[in-house]
Symmetry: C2
Subunit: 344 residues, 2 copies
DNA sequence: TGTTAGCACTCGTTTTACCCGAGTGCTAAA
DNA sequence: TTTAGCACTCGGGTAAAACGAGTGCTAACA
């Protein structure tokens, strides 16, 4: 229903506004190389575009700014492929070139690159290691009343927590429990550990350990699911450079929200593969009303295990960010697959 | 050299300004219950106090604001003991009442309480676990080219890093190395591990391991000192509520500085026991020019292992913060001592 | 001699009036 | 259908005026 000219004008306005953050007038559009029409013509189309909900005015005689609907159209239909500059490309390449030994390291680096190249804030979730399998468990007593349980997975992920030690448990028994666990649970995915504990280990414990009840609940605690997943941020302070965040209250709302890790996790947690673009109020949370969030999952062995994302103003460099996120989620998945595959 | 009345007036002005963040006039001081003099009298003393460098004017006919020197005097001589309210006290008590199993947990909680009760930002360093002793080391091969080294200390602290595995090393040898390390290095403080590796383990490796060179450097890497110490922040966004940080640029400088973990660590790292109060430009860093930082070490077995601190505007509730930090550093030290002592 | 009342003065803030100019909508001509 | 022309709108900037919180100083008072 939009004419080609209207689309062209809309695109020009959006791109101008993304650059300048100022309302765009008909005159400045008409001066562009790609545009051959007079300001008056453009004004007519602008009026139409406004009626259709793609443009807005800040006051009656101001230039136009793109509406959320316009950004949506832009992202869905008008996006041109983005080409990275030489140094940017080098930056990205080098991230995946160095030999990376730990998943967490790769993920942190990715968050850094993301924010560095975009001057927005980056959020990286995960990786969730539920799928990875138990390689070894070690239970080290610390004094009389506590022990540290250390779990190492086949992906090299280490998790540990301290557990209260039941007084009835003797040192020898602790060792025996460790042996049983290692023998019976090795190779089992983390998310199945609890289940496997009951099906595989319970009866053995009954057999070999005196105070079986206490031992079982102790073991269960030692294997309990890790705390909620980790979140890495990059360049939070970048947001303070954006003119839309010159208002302290808005910044505060945003930063406070980012401290709420469970909310952020809920918002971005990896579900289906692929990229998600949420523009302005498409984000349900009010603090993100003036933000867009572009996120994509990265995966391990084809299954999404984490998310990388960018938070910026709705006036965001969509092409650039989308391309970058694509690159990085792909690259990060590869790195993880390499880390994982080293086991076979 | 200051009369009692001048001191009283100075104190009133400081406390008023701490509350209001606005220049304080002679009239408002004279209205206080504790003050019986007329505005004119107060103005005279104010003029004297200004000459002496304790007060400043924002412009020629404004009220006075305390100078940095005034805060210093206030902190050194005028401070009254602060009494916490019932709920505040409960909050603090409950922090140390619950059974805490991990040092890191205690430290994080402390950061939370600090910022919650003060509405400033809290910074908590450490704890540095260099003093704690190796309890157990486990080296778990992950595929062919890498291994995860997990170190558990007698304080229940777990550290792990992934290390590239020299191709020459065989599985059996890896096990042997682990055994040697556990046998020889148990009980040695972390900071001496590298040294002990050479004095205690080197020759044994030579004897039992084929490619001795590679094994040694691998082991050295596995035992390498942890990354720089951890920093926990609480309530960073609290700062945005303070009127002195309504200016985005100032906030940005502050938040950016806080991302520079090595600088923060350098600034606050635990040295001698006790409390440090740095007011305004007493902080060397420019971004802290309008801040005061109050910090105190907490200790383990009498040795300082970490720092808890508060960052707020120079116009800070000194009594309250000082009292709180004293409480918490004392309490945290106790918790750590309890955690530590469980080993004996 | 120390304290206070009185008063003129200062200066940042707020209010008002005004102008400027970027940008619009509409109309009529090309 | 496009464009030129023109009156109109309104935010932003500037200058002048009014306001008021607060000061410094002087003179009177206890």
């Amino acid at each position: 229903m939009l004419t080609d000219r209207q689309l062209l004008i809309l695109q020009s306005i959006i791109e101008d506004y993304i650059q300048s953050a100022e309302p765009v007038g008909s005159r400045s559009i008409s001066k562009k190389n790609s545009i051959t029409f007079s300001p008056a013509t453009i004004r007519n189309d602008m009026a139409d575009l406004e009626e259709l909900g793609f443009l807005e005015k800040t006051h009656s005689s101001s230039g136009r700014i793109p509406s959320q609907k316009a950004y949506r159209l832009y992202v869905d239909r008008l996006l041109l492929p983005y080409r990275f500059s030489e140094p940017e490309m080098n930056n990205i390449q080098s991230l995946f070139a160095g030999k990376i030994l730990e998943a967490e390291e790769a993920v942190k680096e990715t968050a850094g690159i993301l924010s560095e190249l975009t001057s927005y804030a980056s959020i990286v979730l995960g990786p969730e290691m539920f799928e990875s399998r138990l390689r070894q468990i070690q239970i080290v007593p610390i004094g009389k009343a506590a022990a540290v349980a250390v779990i190492v997975t086949d992906t090299g992920y280490v998790e540990n927590h301290t557990v209260a030690l039941p007084p009835s448990l003797e040192a020898g028994e602790l060792e025996q429990i460790t042996n049983i666990l290692n023998e019976r649970l090795r190779g089992i995915p983390l998310y199945q550990l609890q289940r496997a504990l009951f099906s595989e280990v319970r009866d053995l414990l009954k057999k070999y350990v005196l105070n079986y009840e206490a031992a079982l609940s102790f073991t269960e605690e030692a294997l309990r699911k890790s705390r909620h997943e980790k979140i890495f941020y990059g360049g939070k302070t970048n947001l303070l450079n954006q003119p839309e965040f010159k208002d302290v209250d808005r910044v505060r709302a945003l930063l406070e929200l980012m401290e709420e890790e469970h909310l952020i996790h809920e918002l971005l947690k990896p579900t289906m593969n692929g990229m998600t673009i949420r523009i302005g109020q498409e984000n349900t949370n009010e603090a993100f009303e003036h933000c867009s969030i572009i996120s994509a999952t990265y995966s391990l062995a084809g299954k999404p295990v984490g998310t990388i994302g960018i938070v910026g103003p709705t006036r965001m460099e969509y092409q650039k960010v989308i391309t970058l996120i694509n690159h990085l989620s792909y690259g990060l998945s590869n790195v993880l697959d390499d880390l994982y595959r080293r086991d076979s």
